[in-house]
Amino acid sequence: MSPAERLELYRQMVLIRRFEEKCAEMYALAKIGGFCHLYIGEEAVAVGAISVLRPDDYVLSAYRDHGHCLAKGSDPKRVMAELFGKQTGLCKGKGGSMHLYDVERRFMGGYAIVGGHIALAAGVAFGLTYQQQDQVVLCFFGEGAVPTGVFHEAMNIAALWKLPVLFVCENNRYGMGTPVERASAIYDIAQTALAYDMGHSTVDGMDVLAVHEAVGRIVTDMRRTPRPYFLEARTYRFMGHSMSDPAHGHYRTKAEIDEHKKRDPILLFGQRLIELGEANADRLRTIDAQMQQVVQGAIDFADTSPPAPPEELFTDVLA
């Protein structure tokens, strides 16, 4: 990986961070509605993992999907327009925050039924195998999805049929207000793969390079020998579960959050880049300023875009 590539990872993480900080503002202004789940604190997982992929590889995510969509290369303008419910949005405003899609970039959607999309991801991988293609599928979901039946059905099918899908469990310790210890019989979530003789490991989800390297190894192997893999990325959500949830309900303390913020993935990676001598504080500040501009551009675009015409209510139901 070249210094330029590492800087690109930094750029993407900052873009996602600034993008979502603005989302919070826009939500407060009621320009964004519905459920809005921010990825702040977890950026290293999506950026590190997706940076390994080819443009023609596939990604699916749950409802906390802004980061994955942007990391897959979607235009921030069209993402923000989608959140604003505008005609120029990725999905013409029909999907919204929880259901971003950018099929051209092989981002196959964000899904709001916990666990449900994991079977779809196995299906996309099945489709690739069926068509003898060599792409891989990355499927992101939270640790809260691991107890769901559909997750297990998909794991067994993927392992049994050797499907090229990487299950990336973003273990941010909580499913809404429920800590993993009260939702799962196992604390080391990666262990779930033992039930399927599936390769598995755990990675520091706050370290973008660690994620990049781990996923790099896995995907290289997967292209050579198609078979699924389960990666648990240990991360942490800095904000509330959704915009309607306080950063720390009484289910976790402010102190706990502050502790984790010391390992803010952007902070850590910035320091790393400086240590590596690949950037200095100024360079990082410049990137930050640039990303803020990009986000402002997205806001302006979304703001000035027209809403979808009423007829759109009845289109896209049937093909």
């Binding site: 519905g34 013409k92 919204g96 207000g177 429920t178 809403p307």
Partner: protein, 325 residues
Amino acid sequence: MAELLYREALNQALREEMRRDPRIFLMGEEVGFYNGAFKVSKGLLDEFGARRVIDTPITEGGFTGVGIGAAMVGLRPIIEMMTFNFAILALDQIVNNAVKVRYMSGGQLAVPIVIRGPGGPSRQLAAQHSQSLESLFCHIAGLSVVAPATPRDAKGLLKSAIRQNNPIIFIEGQELYSTKGDVPDGDYTIPIGRAEVKREGADVTIIAWSKMLLLALRVADDLAKDGVNAEVVDLRTLKPVDYDTLLGSVRKTGRAVIVEEGWKFCGVGAQIATDLYHRAFDAFDAPVERVTGYDVPMPYAKHLEQLALPTAERVIEAVKKTLYR
């Protein structure tokens, strides 16, 4: 009499019933430490402890099955669906176990279980989180389905649901939790299977339930200005249907409009309309009109979402059609 929020009324019902009967427990996602995703179970963990207020993993099928099994050995589970969208994942447990165990066992077992939670489209939650699924449950033989619209009905009906001895679906209006209304003090029940005339009138009967009742009442006020005197019947229990009350009203008005937030095809309104025709064919001066959500997945964009759901305009138009105006 006190003015309470719909969610507070439900909370009182849960609290009072759990105090009354130690066999009752509440199980679901975030019902305990988090005090409920919509705060309906607020304070219950503190009062009753983790033995009776149980947080679950995200496993609707699993914990619904657990509730049914517990009911089979004499407990009285209340299973909370964080929203009814997720009850689809528990549908096999509901259809094939909850409502059939008694019959298959030739009456050896009973399954007194309440499956409750918020239902109905809600502000920009989009296709997967914004839909009315009551008609699916209504189709299932052996299931009762309740959907209260006011705090008073919510408390009284939830108590009745908890006290009866069969599987029952109790759908709370996700958008009604913060609505206010008078609630009698202390213990009272509202019988299951009884509709209520929420507004008297002579010209046309508007039948609605849950959130749509509020729409119907608003429309009735507007119509009054127009000289149309609409009677508004709150179905309250969707199954079994209280045909006495409905027939009493349509025999008087000769006209009916059914307002339903869910999809039209095979919706509750279809069953009611057909039954009303069948029981009072000659009472109708005009065909029954149905105003429903359109047969599309729910869009995220606010302006499209509003178009997808019944509006005052559409209800008024339907009423006028029945009056040949």
